[in-house]
């Protein structure tokens, strides 16, 4: 169903959502830094930063999450599991790359084997309102990674900024539940034409092909290549790329508190940390940055595809923008391939 929302109705629309749901949208913390946060007032929403630093995965897989609380009551331990999500939630303003990543995380957490109840509860109780990318950045390469700036898949409602209004497409059953929203009107053919124009322009911008296709097979042959001796050199082993990556899902489980009372918590972790695979004996299967960088790249472009049929990268470009030493994953991908894209990157001359 194709509808539209006038910009003058945008804030009242958000207000109507806030009344019924926990509404999560991009919020600016300081100029240039934004995250997805629960908002209490429509004025808090900030769509000026193209893509918030912290990805939308936070809503389903928080950086720190209490799994259960425990208390020693007499003889037995009482454990209270914390997966319940009390109120229905809406995620507004996530880009197609972040939304595609959430679908990938679903495969890991909910797909096969045991079900991660924490992720599932949050996912079930969330309606996703995606936002198309009229102006992808030069660091975006979603279309090389199997997505695109206007990918609808994963969204329940999909918004496109047309200037004076938002085009709104209701895609799923959850999305259709909003068709009676008093702020939505019928979209007219002019709106649809405008959407098409934005789409074409955006596709052209991200259309420089990074050779992600076939990378799984190329990496199969590169297990002991000297490529790994060079690629890790400038990496300093911080965790920015893994924490800001929408698809990275490694976590650590720790107990906080004491034996009388406390909680078991899971926190984001990173395979780039030397502690990650360090065993109590002192042995570390991945002792240097070389092995850890190899693990990260292989996991994204070889192991994950073997298990789930797609690369664990959505081309959002956050790792490129925020790496302190300017590691560019596109360059790493290109170096695995004999093909070179025609136009790539800007640069300082």
């Amino acid at each position: 169903m194709k509808l539209k929302l006038d910009k003058k109705d945008f804030k009242p629309f958000l207000q109507s959502l806030i009344e019924e749901y926990d509404l999560f949208a991009p919020v600016q913390l300081v100029e240039g830094v934004s995250v997805f946060k629960k908002i209490d007032h429509p004025d808090e929403v900030d769509l000026s930063t193209p893509n918030p630093q912290k990805p939308a995965k936070e809503l389903f897989f928080p950086q720190s999450e209490t799994m259960f609380r425990y208390e020693k009551a007499g003889k037995k331990n009482q454990m209270t599991s914390m997966e319940e999500v009390k109120r229905e939630r809406i995620l507004f303003g996530a880009r197609p790359c972040d939304i595609e990543a959430i679908s990938m995380l679903e495969k890991v957490f909910v797909g096969e084997g045991d079900t991660d109840v924490y992720f599932l509860e949050k996912r079930k109780k969330t309606t996703i309102m995606g936002l198309g990318c009229n102006h992808p950045l030069s660091t975006c390469f979603c279309s090389s990674a199997g997505g695109d700036p206007f990918l609808r898949a994963g969204s329940d409602l999909f918004f496109v900024d047309l200037g004076e209004a938002y085009f709104v497409e209701l895609l799923t059953e959850k999305g259709m539940a909003f068709h009676k929203n008093k702020f939505f009107k019928e979209a007219d053919p002019k709106d649809l034409t405008l959407v098409k124009e934005f789409e074409e322009k955006a596709f052209e911008k991200v259309g420089y092909a990074i050779p992600v296709e076939g990378i799984e097979k190329r990496l199969d042959l590169m297990g002991e290549s000297s490529f790994w001796d060079r690629i890790h050199e400038k990496c300093i082993g911080c965790r920015i790329c893994t924490y800001l990556c929408p698809t990275c899902h490694c976590f650590d489980i720790v107990d906080e508190g004491e034996h009388q009372r406390g909680q078991r918590v899971r926190n984001w972790d990173s395979c780039l940390s030397p502690l990650y695979s360090l065993e109590t004996s002192g042995h570390n299967p991945r002792p240097t940055c070389r092995e850890r960088t190899r693990q990260r790249l292989m996991h994204k472009f070889n192991y994950f595809p073997k298990n789930f049929g797609q690369v664990a990268c959505v081309g959002c470009g956050r790792c490129i923008l925020y790496c302190p030493v300017h590691f560019d994953i596109r360059q790493a991908i290109i170096w695995t391939s004999p093909k070179r894209p025609k136009r790539f990157g800007g640069g300082t001359i």
Binding site: T139, R239, P324
Partner: protein, 320 residues
């Protein structure tokens, strides 16, 4: 400015070529061009033919001394600015490397440009940037703007009085006049006027954005502990999550561990993806150390940092 940069760039390349040809070093660590505008990247050259990738401009913002820990088993030729060279001196006092392990190619620094400030000065994505005289020309899809570089320098560079690296093996430029653009960090002076409650609120706000990525720790040449206090599980000093008290504890203790060792290079703040203003802490501590102990990191190759030694005459008014 760009002519001076070009001359320095040529001299860096010549020196690197000479060192590699003579096999005086195993590798050269310097700056190179990469894919994004307003940025350079650390590059690692092992053969004389590769030296043409080395560049020099106002975006060489990383402190390359941090790589000495990673490449400890090699003989390294390192491109250093004034602040980086001070880190090296501080590291040598801590006996982190053998004296003949390094060849320092010192560059008198023209002060580095704050790329985030430049980004904020324009509307839209910057796709290309280059220096022209004392200007930075930035181009986007539908704009082209010329900015005066002096208005876009990093705060740590504005107050720097040690831009010419000392104790280096080769200086590839003429020493520069050592006067700061601003007397003390003007923001620190304002900050010092505030009440403790206001200062705490500022610090609370800044540290609340922290995502425990530890980029500040990893870019810092002085953070090289095999086991950082945050990673210790026995004893466990702090938890690993982003609770406010843990975030504040981390930043306070890390800053404290830097006292008397920090060269004020600003790499920590430049690395932070959440743009936390870390140099407030480090600059303030550096000023305090100067006042209390008359010590500045990395100037003198003999004097030990004040917090790793003591004198009977040390001031004690802060012990109440």
């Amino acid at each position: 400015m760009e002519e001076r940069s070009k001359a320095i760039q040529d001299r860096i390349r010549d020196k690197a070529k000479e060192l590699l040809s003579k096999k005086a070093v195993d590798l050269i660590i310097g700056f190179g061009e990469w894919t994004l505008p307003l940025r350079t990247t650390p590059i690692f050259i092992r053969s004389p033919e590769g030296v043409d990738r080395l560049i020099w401009n106002s975006f060489c913002e990383n402190n390359l001394a941090t790589y000495l820990h990673k490449f400890a088993q090699f003989k390294v030729g390192l491109v250093v600015k004034g602040c980086d060279a001070r880190s090296i001196i501080a590291l040598s006092l801590e006996k982190r490397f053998k004296p003949d392990q390094l060849f320092l190619i010192g560059v008198p620094c023209q002060r580095m440009v704050d790329r985030r400030k430049v980004k904020r000065a324009v509307k839209g994505e910057i796709l290309r940037a280059y220096e022209q005289g004392d200007q930075i020309i930035v181009e986007g899809e539908d704009f082209k703007k010329a900015l005066d570089r002096n208005n876009f320098l990093y705060p740590s560079c504005q107050v720097c009085t040690h831009r010419t690296p000392s104790q280096v093996n080769a200086l590839v430029g003429d020493p520069v006049e050592e006067s700061p653009l601003t007397e003390t960090h003007p923001e620190i002076m304002e900050f010092e006027k505030e009440s403790p409650e206001e200062r705490w609120r500022f610090f609370e706000k800044e540290s609340s954005r922290c995502i425990r990525c530890y980029a500040c720790r990893e870019v810092c040449p002085m953070c090289y502990c095999n086991e950082c206090f945050v990673d210790s599980s026995n004893p466990k000093w702090i938890d690993k999550g982003p609770s406010p008290s843990d975030l504040e504890f981390y930043h306070i203790v890390r800053a404290y561990h830097q006292t008397g060792r920090c060269s004020g290079c600003g790499a920590c703040e430049r690395a932070c993806p959440m743009e936390i203003r870390l140099t407030y802490l480090t600059q303030k501590l550096n000023l305090d150390v100067k006042e209390l102990f008359d010590f500045e990191t990395g100037i003198d190759k003999e004097t030990l940092p004040p917090l790793s030694t003591y004198e009977m005459e040390d001031k004690q008014e802060f012990i109440k």
